[in-house]
């Protein structure tokens, strides 16, 4: 299988600190890849690099066989890569539907003059975007609150809306930065189901979290990061059995025990 996303020797330095070092991994089309690691391991930075939010110091990102290294986020959205954020993910003062419409921007933007004169083309694209957003709201159960302010939603719904904003651009790859951080067990299960359903639509997923239990029940493969570098990659079972992972997570003594 050829990789949808292929990351090679990615490096990012912040002053004297190397946040991501020599990171390489592939993601296959239709896969759910988990990225796991303790706080400060470089998970968010890795996503920032792939999504174009910050440029890499060195290394290469290929998407669908094309070099997309260093492209800005809006260009990458156009190519089908979106991401959500660990923190604020919605426009709090706007309605849920307007949030979705903003996510659909690329799909609905008909060009400066077309939108200015509201041409037939512009109206058609807007109708299409509205349909996409309404379908997503329905699919993820937010239709009833479509006209509510996003900021007034419970936290779990805001996380879902953040995902809808990302999905509204009709991506091929979605990257979710800690989608269950701050959620209770029930909500976390709900998000896990949602992510599986997203994959069910043929969308490839990269998901960050630091809870191995959550990840094992969700991901096809897991990438373990430690101090900016890749520690291990493989199925959840393989990774859990990896001495390097056990050592990093539980300390040397356990690693020695696991080796037996």
């Amino acid at each position: 299988m050829t990789a949808l996303l292929s990351v090679t020797s990615l490096h990012r330095q912040f002053g004297g600190l190397t946040a991501v070092r020599d990171l390489s991994f592939d993601v296959a089309e239709g896969e759910i890849l988990g990225v796991i690691g303790p706080n400060g391991a470089g998970k968010t930075t890795a996503i920032n690099l792939v999504s174009g939010v910050i440029p890499p110091t060195s290394g290469r990102v290929e998407f669908r066989g094309e070099d997309v290294t260093g492209l800005p986020p809006h260009r990458l959205v156009g190519r089908g890569i979106v991401r959500t954020f660990q923190s604020t993910t919605v426009y709090g003062d706007r309605t849920v539907r307007e949030n979705g419409m903003r996510g659909a921007y690329l799909g609905l933007y008909p060009g400066f003059f077309a939108t200015l004169f509201d041409t037939a083309h512009a109206r058609r694209m807007r109708a299409e975007a509205t349909a996409v957003v309404d379908e997503l709201l329905d699919w993820l159960g937010l239709t009833e609150v479509a006209e509510d302010k996003a900021g007034s939603l419970p936290y779990g719904h805001q996380k879902t809306l953040g995902m809808i904003i990302a999905l509204a651009s009709r991506p091929r790859l979605i990257m979710l930065d800690e989608p269950v951080a701050g959620l209770g067990g029930g909500d976390a299960d709900h998000v896990r189901d949602t992510i599986k359903r997203v994959r069910g639509r043929g969308i490839t997923v990269i998901v960050i979290d630091h809870n191995m239990r959550f990840m094992s029940g969700l991901c096809d493969r897991v990438l373990v990061m430690h101090q900016g570098a890749r520690l291990a990659v493989g199925t959840p079972q393989q990774v859990l059995a990896d001495p390097a992972v056990i050592e990093a997570y539980l300390g040397k003594r356990h690693a020695a025990l696991a080796g037996h």
Binding site: H74, F85, R102, Y105, T115, T130, A166
Partner: protein, 326 residues
């Protein structure tokens, strides 16, 4: 699927319907004024209001992207000088002057925009302030072209007919309707949706596919071009241009107009303009008092009315409706 006419947010012309009818009624009343009042002073004040409204609205457009420019009057001045020089030095018609008044500040904004629009908040304010000062110094120092500190006198009216204050009133009203209408249309379109998204969360907007910097530069250039036209209208109206008319003080006035009126909707700078230009006329003869009252109002607005006078109007309207309803 939601019917587009039912969902205001799915509408491109978000300012359609009732606001449009209100705007049309206001313009109709304004168009009748010269027929009822022949007073030259009132008509001249009217022209000043329309020209200032264009300038304030064009600044509002830029403010909506999240950047408060303290150099807006400099672009207005560049437009004024460009038009005046085109007409007086090149002997071209006023229409060519207006075109130059749009293009010159627009090009300059396109040149500096990609640099300054990367700055946020106070840094942008500071740099545009410095830019305004530099432009003013160029006006003063480039004597062979700008006439130095004395400026340029004896600027002709756009056409002989516009020596009549009523005619100029209609010219500036027409320009105001066109340009403010253009801005309203732009803000109500998909571009406006993108502008609001960028201001509210630049990071999220960028990651939703909005080309943030390109959008900001485009809007900045448009706003600067439009204020250039306002400059041309002003120059050919008061018949002279000089550096002090386009100094940082004037830039600050345009910001104050926006703050007082309200920065959340386009109505804000229009209301602010009215307030800013009409209040002093009503307090004529009390120059000191004028400033104090103005200062107090500004403080009150900033402290209690983040939405400006427009918000106050909105609240009053709600109150009246509730009374009428019960």
């Amino acid at each position: 699927m939601t019917d587009a006419s039912l969902s205001p947010l799915a509408l491109a012309p978000r300012a359609g319907g009732r606001p449009l009818a209100i705007a049309a009624a206001v313009v109709a009343v304004l168009a009748l004024v010269p027929l009822v009042i022949a007073d030259k002073f009132i008509l001249s004040l009217g022209s000043t209001v329309f020209i200032t409204a264009i300038a304030a609205a064009s600044l509002h457009l830029i403010i909506r992207t999240g950047h408060i420019s303290l150099g807006h009057a400099a672009f207005m001045g560049i437009g004024a000088y460009a038009s005046v020089l085109t007409v007086m030095e090149l002997g071209l018609p006023f229409a060519a002057g207006v075109l130059a008044a749009f293009v010159a500040p627009c090009l300059l904004a396109l040149a500096i925009g990609p640099l300054v629009l990367r700055l946020t908040g106070k840094y942008f304010v500071l740099v545009t302030f410095l830019f305004g000062e530099i432009v003013r110094m160029v006006f003063v120092e480039w004597k062979s072209v700008t006439g130095g500190a004395n400026g340029i006198f004896g600027i002709p009216a756009p056409a002989p007919v516009f020596n009549d204050p009523a005619a100029y009133y209609y010219l500036s009203l027409g320009a105001g309707v066109l340009l403010v209408g253009f801005i309203a249309r732009l803000l109500a379109s998909e571009v406006g949706r993108a502008i609001d998204a960028v201001r509210e969360s630049e990071r999220l907007a960028h990651c939703s596919g909005i080309p943030v910097l390109r959008l900001k530069v485009t809007i900045f250039a448009l706003g600067c071009g439009i204020v250039g036209i306002a400059g041309a209208l002003q120059g050919h109206f008061i018949r002279y241009v000089d550096p002090t008319s386009y100094s940082v003080v004037q830039s600050l006035n345009l910001v104050v107009v926006n703050v007082i009126g309200g920065m959340q909707t386009l109505v804000g700078p229009l209301v602010g303009t009215l307030f800013y230009l009409i209040l002093p006329e009503m307090l004529r003869g009390y120059v000191e008092l004028q400033r104090i009252i103005f200062g107090i109002i500004l403080i009150i607005v900033m402290a209690f009315l983040p939405g400006g006078l427009v918000e106050l109007g909105g609240r009053a309207l709600q109150l009246v409706r509730r009374r009428a309803g019960s």
